[in-house]
Amino acid sequence: MSNIQTNTSVNWEIGPIFRAMLRNKVGAILIALQIAITMTIIVNSVYIIVERSKEMQRDSGIDNKNSFSLTSVGFAENFNAAVTVEEDLNTLRNLPGIVDAIQINAIPNSGSGWSMGLKTQSGVEHDAVGTAVYMVDEHGINALDVEIIAGENFAPTDIGLREVGQVKWPNKTILTKAMAENLFPEIPYSSVVGKTVYINDIDPMIVIGIIDKLQAPWVGWNNLENVMLSPERMDYKGSRYFIRTEPSQRDSVMKQVEELLANSNKGRLIQGMRSIEETRERSYRGHTAMIKILTTVMVILTIVTALGIVGLASFSVNQRKKQIGTRRALGASQSAIVRYFMLENFLISTIGVVFGAALTIALNILLVNTFGLDRIDWFYIPIGMVVLWLVGQGAVFGPAKKAANIPPALATRTV
């Protein structure tokens, strides 16, 4: 007897467990299905959350922390917009704590703005590249905290005054690097300086500078960094100001500015004063809500799945008390009993995650085709499988330990 050849390694019972499972399929199939559905939803949810988070983390190009905006709306009959803007900007630019201030037609990431199409050739027959338009004066670069990486800034003499309903455009523009590359993909962005682009199909504008990065107002737009600056102030009764402050001065400056502007001209209202951080938070509120909802769904699903596994395993342990006692009597150690249930769950989970992987891909294809989402990165699937395996193993551990505590003497009792 003592000379019998034995395995020194643990003797896994995969074959018998699998064959026994096949004879009691229903519970195992239901749990495997639950694991598959959970994996499908979790993996796609995590992917969506990560994508949304990445979008929220994108660099807007401006100084989010230290900038704010407000709107001045003139209502008095004798309200002179151009003069008021000039006076306001002089006041603001000389106020301690303010780095620079500009009048601007739209606030980056605010959700509301202007868009135009730029062409490299004149004529309606040519395709245009869509772009957001920010109308700024020569202080725009400094106020927005963007960097000119090729060419030059607008000169004060370049700045025009846009009337309401005006269709004519200035003859100069500054583009973002992304816009320059989209318009002229075959040449380096720096070579775009000096090129003529066409707005309104035929109106020429010379590109005098390239800035590193600036985002459009619409955070959900695919070409978010397609932006052009137009050298203009607006002679509009409603006027937006974009103000950049010294670090950590924003909140105190905001209060001061609101009071100052409101008192400086009683013929207008100051409204919509908010930090750029708040503006971005409002624009990404849909993202934030989706992340919260998906996270909640994921947590609930994971808990429900884990509880399902605990329930099935506990039921299985209670049903098999006599069998477990018999196994113990026949020589199974407590760890062998734990291993048995963990292995059984591992097999069920494996069926679940394999099926789940297929379902995950199917759901992703559906999301791609229906909602235009990006295709899921491949590594999400093995990570999802491992996570669901771990959830399964974690959930079954308690019942498995309970099973291991069933005494071997139960084999001789009537239960």
């Binding site: 074959g15 018998p16 020589g331 062998a336």
Partner: protein
């Protein structure tokens, strides 16, 4: 081979203390076939559980195959059960979802035998009980007597030093009971020590030696067969 000296077993609850075994003394030699009888609640099953290392005991000394098993941990006890003891239960205790082959395989896997060795042993033991042709059948497809034969095959496959049988014919009709008893006697004749707990006096009389347990003690010993291969003693 199996020696119990003043073994005690006390079951305690918050309200009650029950002495299941008190100063239990027994010596079973190699190759013996001992039938343990006694009224219900006398301590037969407790004795069997302790002898089979299924339960610990409260006092005294128990030597199994020369080894003091009084203070072994659960893992060591499991290992000893697996290597030295074969169990036969009243209700067979076959695993209903496993076929005969896999049922007999259960203790062999815990033993760590490789697959070829296990297969050989399973086939041999099922052959010995006359069920080699039905090894792919489920227990539910067999009669009670056949199921008990499978249980015996499972107990024997690991070639244990002892067979502990708990009412092995309790759930069988007379014909099947006799058949199982004949099988046990053959196994004993081949050298395996058997301790059998039974209510059935006729069955007990077929053993080499009878032990009568009452109130948790060995109260009577009848050496039915003086030609027993072992020197027997009971105190």
């Amino acid at each position: 081979m199996l020696k119990m000296t003043d073994v005690k077993k006390v079951f305690r609850t918050d309200l009650v203390e029950t002495q299941a075994l008190r100063d239990f003394n027994l010596h079973v030699g190699e190759g013996d076939f001992v039938a343990v009888t006694g009224p219900s609640g006398s301590g037969k099953t407790t004795f069997l559980n302790i002898a089979g290392l299924l339960e610990t005991f409260s006092g005294g000394k128990y030597e199994l195959d020369g080894q003091d098993v009084s203070n072994l941990n659960d893992k060591k006890r499991s290992q000893l059960r697996n290597e030295k003891i074969g169990f036969i239960f009243q209700s067979f205790n076959l695993i209903p979802d496993l076929n005969l082959f896999d049922n007999v395989d259960v203790p062999l896997r815990y033993r760590g035998f490789n697959s070829a060795e296990r297969k050989k042993r399973i086939e041999n033991s099922l052959e010995m009980v006359g069920l080699a042709q039905r090894m792919k059948h489920l227990p539910s497809q067999l009669s009670g007597g056949q199921q008990q034969r499978v249980a015996i095959a499972r107990a024997l496959a690991g070639e244990p030093r002892f067979l502990l049988a708990d009412e092995p014919t309790g759930n069988l009709d007379t014909q099947m009971a006799n058949s199982v008893m004949d099988l046990l006697k053959n196994i004993n004749d081949a050298g395996t020590t058997i301790i059998m707990v039974t209510h059935d006096g006729e069955l007990a009389s077929q053993a080499r030696r009878n032990i009568y347990v009452r109130d948790g003690k060995v109260s009577e010993v009848n050496n039915a067969d003086i030609s027993s291969p072992a020197q027997l003693s009971a105190v």
